[in-house]
Amino acid sequence: MVFAVGMTRQLLGRLGGVFILALLGSASVFFAMRMGAGDPAIAALGDFATPEAIAAFRTKWGIDQPVVLQYWKWLLNALQGDFGTSMTIAANVPIAKLIASRLPNTMFIGLLALTIAVLISLFAGTLSVLRHGQLVDTVATSLAILGISMPDFWLSYVLIYIFALGLGIFPSYGFVTPPESFSAALYCGFLPALAVAAPMAAAFTRILRTALLETLHREHVRVARSFGFRASFIFIHYVMRNALIPYVTVVGLQIRYILGGTVVVERIFGVPGIGALMVDAAFARDYPVVQACALTFLIGVLSVNLIVDFVCAALNPREIT
């Protein structure tokens, strides 16, 4: 009972926090975009637009009005769920439609990447602890350092050259959305997901390895051993369970990077995702699209944080207040 009340109160408080942060975040993105140099009219009308065409464009999109007023109008509409239409990258297409078609692709690649990263890390992390100090451990640790240090765009091209152009196993470019064909989406999405997964897998492996090693020498494990439990039982119930708390926290922290981390990879592999959308929009000064993407990212990250906190609380009920 106390537990449930505490949870509910915390949840409501956190949701309020999410709302305020989203508001602040949207305002800062809005004003930062407007303060930076650049002109949507140039992006939409091209470099040889006449002054009349530019003036007409500005009036049409209301960007000749005071910035504060523009924000106020945007906010009122956004609160009603209306993000407007794109100005310069997909003229007149409703932004909600753009995001609805792009976000699932990013989430698909992200989840696929996360799955790959978790599988690799659970395997590699556990193995390197069980074979601590041996060759397997050294290899796993070295690969982890490599995975963290490799830039994703470089890794993407390496994967393309090896698996697409060299071995011809995977396509070098292009994407099929999951609703069109789930198996084709897995096939086309594998290399981009692997490129996104590599640094995550490395980070996960390292944290799991460290946490497992630390827990292995804790007192409760020694006590368990003195009871004469089987080694595998001790590892799963006493070591792994405790090591999973920092692991899940790090996995949660990394999920937020999935959204941003796919930006470059999406462009290289041609995945029509929200990261690529935001980059295109920023280059073309499509203010409302950048704004909506930023808000989507922000709400995504804040929600993930929320979920991670509650999952950790569930794994470790002692910390609930």
């Binding site: 140039i42 637009a49 464009f57 396509p171 470019y173 462009r267």
Partner: protein
Amino acid sequence: MWHSEVNAQTPILRAAITGFNVINTLDPAKASLIPEFYIIYGVFNSLLKFNEKMEISPDLAENFSIVDPKTLEFKLRKGIKFHDGSDFSADDVKFSIERVLEEKTASPNRGKLQSISNITIVNTDTIRIETKAPFAPLLNYMTNTRTATQIVSRNALKSMGEEAFGKNPVGTGRYRVKDWKSGEMIELTGFAGAFEGAPKIMNVRCPMIAEESSGMTAILGNQVDLTSTAPFADITTLEQKPDIRVIKQAGLNTRYIALNNKKAPFDDVHFRRAVSMAFDRNVLVKAVIFGEGVATPGILPPSMWPDNKPAVSDWVNFNPERAKAEFAKSKYKPGQEGTVLTWGSNWWRRIGEIFVGQVNQVLGTKLTVQASDFNAAYARAKAGDYEAMVMGWLGFVDPDEFMGEMVGSKGFRNIHFYASDKMDILLEKGRMELDPVKRKLVYRDAELLMLEDMPLLPCFTSNVHNLLRANVNGFVQLPYSNFADQFGSVQIG
């Protein structure tokens, strides 16, 4: 999507738009971006077009005549149908061109056609275009290029409204738009009733690939059959691949350093000339575009008039001694600072970096490079808040589009704040001179005057490229960067 059906039964041409992924409208009057025209070329026809030798040839007009220096008469082909099955007529021609001229259309190309005073329908298949004064560029502006003069169906546009027409355009071209996913892909389907004949391949997919290098890996991995561009750095490697064909030629483009003639330090003509002689344009060609182009001694790309001798001026020859002597005449001293705006992540940026390095070495100046993206840099330049900026224009077919716009006192691309009465008179003469031979001489004089005043620093012209899978035939490349106009004659295998 386009990937999964690589081996489908019906032949599909996978023609990737590379280096760009924004298409906002396919309404010729409203379009401005290069990829928009890539598609427009195949959906619409103009009165005229360029043939493979870049000669003006018939399109919707079967011939034309010059009635008097201010009047052109076009005889239209008969029996042409629009995509919606309606008949093409002189009404559509008059409507399409007048629409570009109307202020409320806000066409980016309106300025080009403003010398038109009257469009008269003589009969259903004859139309006359009159200009206020003799206007030499008019024939070029009536071609299917980046001109906005592609002929739209009047009825379709009226009934659909401009916005819907821009998404579902109705023209006479060999392809119609079948599907369009913003920022991802445009799908075209062949128009069996096209007057140029039904296309050989009826289904075309045009994925939009923002990264040129991804376009390259896509064609290497057989995910696409054809690309609209190729990365300069990889041309040599690609030319050695047996399953890829690289087609290239000198493009109708110009790459230069724009200077703000109203602001220190480029407000001093001696300093501008000194800087011009302080860097080697051939080095730029080698280091920036890997030899895929030529250093240019002026604004007009050499391929515009291949038989024409360029204007010759010492002001554009690399000569450190003369550069230093000229620098001494200026009001600036070694150590002079200045900022060159540059943008993008690859070769555009290198132009600025290499230019600044060379000039500083020769003159002892302290010029620096400031990098951002094109939009930010260009917005600053337009507002006059800059000293120098790496610039380029491409895809234009008339000298007035280059020189008139760049160094004419009222030119839209004159971000140099350069105004010279002598230049304006020459440019006006160039617009009015209908004799092609004499017209070339006028522009040569204009180039020489430009080089004396040096309001900008011409650098080079680059090649245009298309990559084709080895089994793709029938694509004819034109130097203004054409694209969908060729799909109808492309064959695979």
